[in-house]
């Protein structure tokens, strides 16, 4: 456009285009110089001031923050120590709880919640000896049902659950515990009799699954004896560990001499009142008594005198013989 205008004005501006361009060029370089110099100096100075100010400000801020962090860590440390010990306390509490839950076993009936109900553990014991545990896994639905269990097949579980499981679950567990505990106790007695008193037994101990019928022949002394006894114990009440019926008979056909008859009756009584292996213990202790009686009889027979009186010392080891006859 300008070119067009300069061309129209002609005359003076014939070399006008080029001269114009030259003029524009010098203008530009002049203005550039103008722009640069003062702006450079001033602008740069201003910029420097600005940056310095910013730097100082940031430095101050950094220092402040560092100081704050130090102060805050100093404050935080005691808090964290507290947190750690709280955690320890909780862990200890948890372990304690677990131990208590495990110890519940000793009450006889304990349990653990499962995803579908509860798994009940029935622990049995006899005379302070912890025996087997049995489990019943219950599903909490209406009606309540048993998923699986470890109760032996000869315990009447179906009967007991038919009576009580739906109506009174607590009583169901208690009755089941009674049966299992008594069974464990009877089994323990029979096992002890077989193992600890094998020397006194003549032949095998006859028993059954429930250990509610025991039949055996035994001697009072382990070494040879003329009158072994046959004992037959019946436990008609499945919730007890002592027999309901006891018969002790002599094996031979001849009538028992009176002392043996006394013994036989005494043994019957013992079986009724004491656990089996304790009865055997008692019988073993009473062996010296029979020796004494035999000795007494022999003395009378041999000397033609008598009767003799025998007294025992307290430790039952020494006997003093006293005779009414004048010969001694």
């Amino acid at each position: 456009m300008e070119l067009a205008n300069t061309l129209r004005q002609d005359g003076e501006s014939r070399g006008g285009v080029l001269a114009h361009l030259e003029r524009l060029e010098t203008q530009v370089s002049k203005s550039r110089k103008k722009l640069e110099e003062p702006q450079n100096a001033q602008a740069l100075e201003a910029r420097i001031h600005e940056l310095k100010r910013l730097r100082d400000k940031l430095r101050a801020e950094v220092k402040q923050r560092q100081a704050r962090v130090k102060a805050s860590t100093a404050n935080v440390e005691p808090d964290q120590i507290l947190e750690i010990s709280e955690q320890e306390i909780l862990e200890r509490k948890q372990e304690n709880m677990k131990a208590i839950l495990q110890a519940y076993r000793f009450t006889g009936i304990s349990g653990k919640l499962t995803s579908r109900g509860v798994c009940v553990c029935i622990s049995t014991a006899f005379e302070g000896n912890l025996l087997d545990s049995y489990f019943v896994d219950l599903v909490m639905e209406k009606p309540l049902w048993i998923h699986h269990h470890s109760v032996p097949v000869f315990i009447p579980l179906e009967e007991i659950s038919a009576k009580y499981l739906q109506t009174n679950t607590r009583h169901f567990l208690f009755v089941l515990w009674e049966y299992l505990n008594a069974y464990s106790g009877r089994k323990y007695q029979a096992d002890r009799l077989q193992s600890d008193f094998a020397a006194f037994l003549v032949g095998p101990l006859q028993r059954n699954s429930l250990c509610n019928l025991l039949s055996f022949t035994y001697k009072v002394k382990p070494e040879g004896q003329s009158f072994p006894f046959c004992a037959r114990l019946l436990y008609k009440d499945l919730t007890t560990t002592l027999p309901t019926d006891v018969t002790v008979t002599s094996q031979g056909t001849e009538a028992l001499p009176s002392t043996w008859e006394e013994q036989r009756a005494a043994h019957e009584n013992l079986f009724f009142t004491k656990p089996l292996h304790q009865v055997k213990g008692n019988i073993a202790l009473s062996a010296p008594m029979t020796k004494v009686m035999g000795f007494q009889k022999n003395l009378s027979r041999l000397s033609g005198q008598g009767p003799f009186h025998l007294t025992r010392t307290t430790d039952k080891q020494v006997f003093r013989v006293k005779s009414t006859a004048s010969r001694f």
């Binding site: 798994c119 269990h149 470890s150 699954s209 509610n212 039949s215 499945l238």
Partner: protein, 344 residues
Amino acid sequence: MSAKEMDETLAEFFRRTILKIPMTEMMTILKTWNFLSENQLQTVNFRQRKESIVQDLVLLCEENHASLNDAAHLDIIYTQFHRHQKIWDVFQMSKAPGDDIDLFDMEQFKSSFKKILQRALKNVTVSFRDAEENSVWIRIAWGTQYKKPNQYKPAYVVYYSQTPYAFTSSSRLKSNLPLLGQALTVASKHHQIVKMDLRSRYLDSLKAIVFKQYNQSFETHNCTTSLQEGSLGLDINMDSRIIHENKVEKERVQRVTQEIFGDYPQPRLEFAQYKLETKFKSDLNGGILAEREEPLRCLVKFSSPHLLEALKSLAPAGIADAPLSPLLTCIPNKGKNYFKIRDK
């Protein structure tokens, strides 16, 4: 010393019974039998041909005046070692309501059982051997009024005292079954006996099923009972670069399978048989069978060396949907592997 000559048939019975025993088990079985003494056994040269060993042993039996009862004992012991060679049925007995507590006397049971059989059949051999857990193995060789008992086809009964179950080896002489049932029922002081729909070679598995002993894992606070982590061989976290397709579905299948079959080893059965008497059901309308009014009769039999383990692995292997049909999964619970299915 001259040994009393043993009856030829008895000697032959000894010979055949001892011949059956594999050489690897010979000493164990003879020692369990406890009829020939250590010294006597040492006199036998066990490096001979089996025929000669057996001959020597039979001679020793003659020396000891072995009776039919002793031979029967040996037969029982052999069968106890080889119980899988027989197929076992299960019978269930029941008491009358209000019956007394069971004061089971093993000697009384044995004598009562024997008497009942002997009164009914003049010719019968009954032998007993006590076994673990207060149980007894009974061997019965059946005869008739006029024939001596056949010692080569005996029936066996295994009875655990004070339980309602008896296990019998299926005898081909089915006619004696009612008598056997009666003897068992009366001797064990029960009222009734019924044959269960349960049969297998694996006696111990049958016992585990009816005594409900196959699942023995329980949750306790003591963590003493077995609680195995069942994973069915599916290691999903193997490698993080591998993404399992259908991971959710696989986990669901595993969970459902574990709920139904549990973590315990399954009792061993060889088959399950389903007798169907149902009307034909079809999705397609029409068709020849759809119009049939009478029920179709057909038999479906599943066989396997270990049926329940095979069923357990069906869904995880992708062959069947989970959960499986209750007809298959109820087998140990119901104590049945024979089913009759009718339309309701």
